[in-house]
């Protein structure tokens, strides 16, 4: 079943390539991503929570010479990420509907390829398979930034590609070292994640490999000193590109920490947690302050992503149930909220052809529907109780507090700054004196897409257990093993 979900977008991309009409490809893309989403829902509802562990495993030999296997499956964590990926890809199509006005075939083809690669990252149970999807994703993503992006699109696309690639070479070397050490100790040469995670490495090696994996994941998240590619890429990317970047790509890094760093190098993970706390705190507070002075709406949202990912990182490294469950929940929730915010920014840009805050103002009087939905997502981004963000943020702060009190305090400080820049932005864009003559409200397509996410954000805000029940088993077994 998981293989079908994985290959369906690829098939869709093939259909897009064969389709003769430039207009019809949109519908192919919408249909494919929609079907993929429905199939992933099917997996969600058929996942046996009481049994836990990896289910829906598909298995086949792929490169027997090096015992590299094709092995995919989902556990609680992968499942949440899978749902998030298919949902956001499904949302990305309507966000591109009018924004992408040329080379549509290429665009939707790349989008579907990208979806396959992203799903692959989250469901691979073989280290090398994971790496292949992890890297393969770079080509379509940087093409999307580079072809349909803004003014500095080429610079941003190259920076994104090279930065991420530079990070992941250390992952590749680390992987090979890990596998060869495992092979020389146990006599079993394998890339299977499940087998490798039961292996206890000596601490000295754990330290090295932890940092090798860290660089790759930290660039993707991005953790504080490695975040400089993100504002460029987010700002220059076309709306659907930003939606996917913020919604899915950033979570690959945190997913990597959970799936690999923690089970493979538990001692080093615990040892270096304080370093990550400091980096996380810097990310939360520093980028929030940076966001406060930005004039470009998209940049504000982009920096807010870095800030929010800081919460996730601290949650992951707090090594207690609250922190990790909160972090996973926050990953999902940040995916939805930031995707929605980028969608809204894109919608405004399509109408005004500017992203400068000073050129906007009073949009609420022209576009009540947009303003209402934007209000909801702004509040969700700030972490208002009743939205899903509150659950994620609260749990990660609790986790941070339990790990070390000062971390909790500083994270809470970050929440205040977060409220500041988001509310400033909202006021300047939607209230104050109108600076534009006319502004069209959301059309049905945009309203449906955003409304759908809004419903989910509120629903999961009041009923987080719907998601949490998938995570409990995963977290328990993860922390039990550490």
């Amino acid at each position: 079943m998981v293989s079908v979900i994985l290959l369906l977008p690829l098939l869709g991309a093939l259909f897009v390539a064969l389709c003769r009409s430039e207009e019809r490809v949109k519908w192919i893309a919408l249909f494919t991503t929609g079907l993929t989403f429905l199939l992933s829902l099917y997996v969600l509802f058929n996942y046996d929570i009481s049994k836990g562990g990896f289910q829906f495993i598909d298995y086949g030999s792929w490169l027997p010479t090096f015992s590299i296997k094709y092995k995919v499956g989902v556990d609680g964590l992968s499942l949440i990420m899978l749902i998030m990926t298919t949902l956001i890809s499904f949302i990305a199509v309507p966000s591109a509907w009018r924004y992408i006005d040329r080379r549509k075939k290429l665009f939707y083809g790349l989008l579907l390829l990208l979806e396959t690669a992203m799903i692959g990252v989250f469901v691979s149970l073989d280290l090398l398979l994971f790496y292949i999807f992890w890297e393969a994703m770079l080509i379509p993503m940087s093409l999307i930034i580079g072809v349909w992006g803004g003014e500095r699109r080429i610079y941003s696309a190259l920076k994104f590609f090279i930065y991420t690639f530079a990070g992941s070479i250390f992952l590749l070397v680390g992987m090979v070292v890990l596998v060869i050490v495992y092979g020389s100790v146990t006599g079993n040469f394998t890339f299977d994640i499940l087998q490798l995670s039961h292996f206890k490495l000596p601490l000295e090696l754990q330290k090295w490999l932890f940092w090798a994996f860290f660089i790759a994941f930290a660039v993707k998240v991005p953790v504080f000193p490695f975040h400089t590619w993100l504002p460029d890429a987010h700002v220059e990317a076309p709306t659907p590109g930003s939606v996917i970047l913020a919604g899915v790509l950033l979570k690959m890094g945190t997913y990597g920490f959970l799936r690999f760093s923690l089970p493979f190098f538990p001692d080093a993970y615990r040892l270096y947690a304080p370093v990550i706390f400091i980096l996380g705190i810097i990310a939360i507070i520093y980028t929030a302050l940076v966001a406060l002075v930005q004039e470009d709406v998209k940049k504000i949202v982009a920096y807010s992503s870095v800030s929010h990912m800081g919460f996730v990182m601290i949650g992951l490294f707090s090594l207690n149930v609250q922190g990790i469950e909160g972090a996973i929940f926050q990953m999902l929730n940040h995916g939805l909220v930031s995707a929605a915010l980028f969608f809204i920014v894109g919608a405004i840009y399509e109408r005004l052809h500017t992203r400068k805050v000073e050129k906007m103002g009073g949009l609420a009087s022209f576009a009540p529907k947009l303003a209402a939905l934007a209000m909801l997502f702004t509040m969700a981004s700030v972490g208002l109780p009743g939205t899903s963000s509150f659950i994620g943020e609260f749990l990660t702060i609790l986790g941070g507090y339990r790990a070390a009190h000062w971390v909790g305090y500083l994270m809470a400080l970050g929440v205040i700054f977060g409220a500041a820049y988001m509310l400033y932005m909202y006021r300047n864009v939607f209230f104050l004196e109108p600076k534009v003559l006319s502004f069209k409200d959301l059309d049905l397509r945009e309203f449906l897409a955003l409304g759908f996410i809004a419903l989910l954000v509120i629903w999961w805000g009041f009923n987080p257990e719907f998601i949490m029940k998938f995570i409990h088993g995963y977290t328990a077994s993860l922390l039990g093993g550490v």
């Binding site: 290429l106 090398l128 580079g146 690639f165 070479i169």
Partner: protein, 480 residues
């Protein structure tokens, strides 16, 4: 004491075909030559692929009293040589239509002579045979570079290549002479038995032979000729140089060094590793600012050669396997890349520069997407063929604990990513008009097939891995 002539049947077949080509050239009117000779060469090479497949023994066999030794390593590399040459012929057909020359027949039969040299080079089991076959190949390539009228660049390249190549050959011969003096024989096996310790003459001959090979491979510090020659030579010839000459030189190197210098493997392994890392970096750094794609690919070839050389520091079995796999990937990528450049070239060397590729996607989406596959494969991005080549080298290095070298070549690959992305940037992201001459269907088909292989073998590399392992085990039987 047996001649065992039938073992060399594929080589003789190509040689005969080349000689027949000379005769036919005298009789044909000029306008028919291109079509006829292209078809002729394709048939010859195609039949020869089957001859090689059927005649390559798993258990190594010797011929001409041990002057020639064939195993699956030879067989496999010959298939690779023939495949690359086939693509070279297809590309040449289109190229000769676009560019005028009086020497159509000469072009094709010289190409066949070069193929013969390369095929003999990978089967050589004796110093003089190796040298002679190396020269047959090299001299043919010198001639091929200079065959186009009004092409001052090609003539300059040919002369440069000739002078530099002769020096390289001379260095190799000095090394061989010393080896003969030490052992009293030119057969690999007997020379190997005479050399066991690192005395000064051995060291000197080793240094000379290594330098000579580095010359032919175009590795730092003997890489100076590569960019000029790759740039100047007609594109199909560059394709041939990039793929066939490199395969032949590498396989000859494996077949020479492991039997002859096996006791000293740790010494020369280290040498190759150091030179490899330096080449990988030097090639990558110098390619960064190239505007001409052929020049850029020449520097990228230096970088790739460096990466392959580092693998020799590993244990012999793993080293041979990963080198062979890399050669496979590299040959496909080189052939595709230069074939692609040749497709876009028109009179006056237009279409060779990055700026001529602006907005290629607007002109031809198919070509632009092939370009992405080719250059991303060269950069080693999964799931394309080039990634696996890099991956196996990495495994080979980590296996013997050379993590530092592994990281170094990967850092070099990050640097090279920048220039491999530039064609993509030009073809998709810059505004402008691409130059697109009328495309010859055969030429396009050949390039499309290789691009398809880059994807297929990227998704399913098992076939090539298995083939390389067979070749490896057959090769090891011959040494032990």
């Amino acid at each position: 004491m047996e001649l065992n002539v039938k073992l060399l049947f594929p080589e003789f077949f190509v040689l005969t075909a080349a000689v027949v080509g000379i005769l036919i050239d005298l009789l044909l009117p000029k306008r028919m030559k291109n079509g006829f000779f292209a078809t002729f060469s394709v048939f010859v090479l195609f039949i020869c692929v089957f001859l090689v497949l059927f005649s390559s023994p798993f258990v190594p066999e010797e011929a001409f009293n041990g002057f020639v030794k064939k195993d699956l390593l030879t067989g496999l590399s010959q298939v690779l040589i023939l495949f690359s040459s086939l693509i070279a012929v297809f590309v040449s057909y289109g190229f000769l239509k676009k560019f005028d020359t009086d020497y159509v027949g000469e072009f094709y039969y010289t190409l066949l002579f070069a193929v013969f040299g390369a095929m003999l080079m990978v089967s050589a089991n004796e110093l003089a045979t190796l040298f002679v076959s190396l020269e047959v190949m090299s001299i043919s390539v010198y001639i091929l570079s200079a065959l186009f009228r009004k092409d001052y660049r090609g003539k300059e390249a040919a002369l440069k290549y000739f002078i530099m190549g002769s020096v390289g050959a001379a260095v190799i011969v000095y090394g061989f002479a010393l080896l003969y003096g030490l052992s009293g024989s030119t057969l690999y096996g007997e020379v190997g038995r005479a050399i066991s310790t690192l005395s000064f003459p051995v060291l000197l001959s080793l240094a000379l032979v290594i330098s000579g090979f580095l010359f032919k491979l175009g590795a730092v510090p003997f890489h100076g000729w590569t960019p000029d020659v790759y740039h100047g030579a007609p594109t199909p010839v560059t394709l041939f140089m990039g793929a066939v000459v490199k395969i032949a030189a590498f396989v000859a190197l494996l077949k020479l060094f492991y039997p002859v210098f096996l006791p000293l493997v740790s010494e020369w392994g280290e040498v190759f590793a150091v030179i490899g890392v330096v080449s990988a970096f030097a090639g990558a750094l110098m390619a960064l600012r190239q505007e001409n794609v052929k020049r850029m690919l020449a520097y990228s070839a230096i970088s790739h050669t460096g990466v392959v050389l580092t693998a020799l520091v590993s244990v012999p079995a793993v080293a041979v396997f990963s080198v062979l796999f890399y050669l496979f990937a590299y040959a496909f990528m080189t052939v595709a890349a230069f074939g692609f450049v040749s497709l876009l070239t028109e009179n006056g060397f237009k279409g060779e520069n990055l700026s001529d590729w602006r907005n290629l996607y607007g002109k031809s989406p198919f070509l632009a997407l092939s370009l992405v596959v080719i250059f991303m494969s060269l950069a080693g991005i999964p799931p394309l063929f080039g990634f696996w080549a890099k991956f196996y080298i990495l495994v080979a290095l980590v296996k013997v604990g050379k993590v530092g070298i592994a990281v170094a070549i990967l850092v070099a690959s990050v640097i090279s990513l920048y220039f491999y992305l530039r064609p993509v940037v030009y073809a998709f992201m810059r505004k402008g008009e691409a130059v697109l001459p009328p495309v010859e269907p055969f030429e396009l088909g050949a390039v499309a097939v290789t691009v398809l292989f880059l994807i297929i073998f990227g998704l399913f590399p098992e076939l090539i891995s298995q083939a390389s392992i067979f070749a490896l085990s057959s090769f090891l039987r011959g040494i032990i």
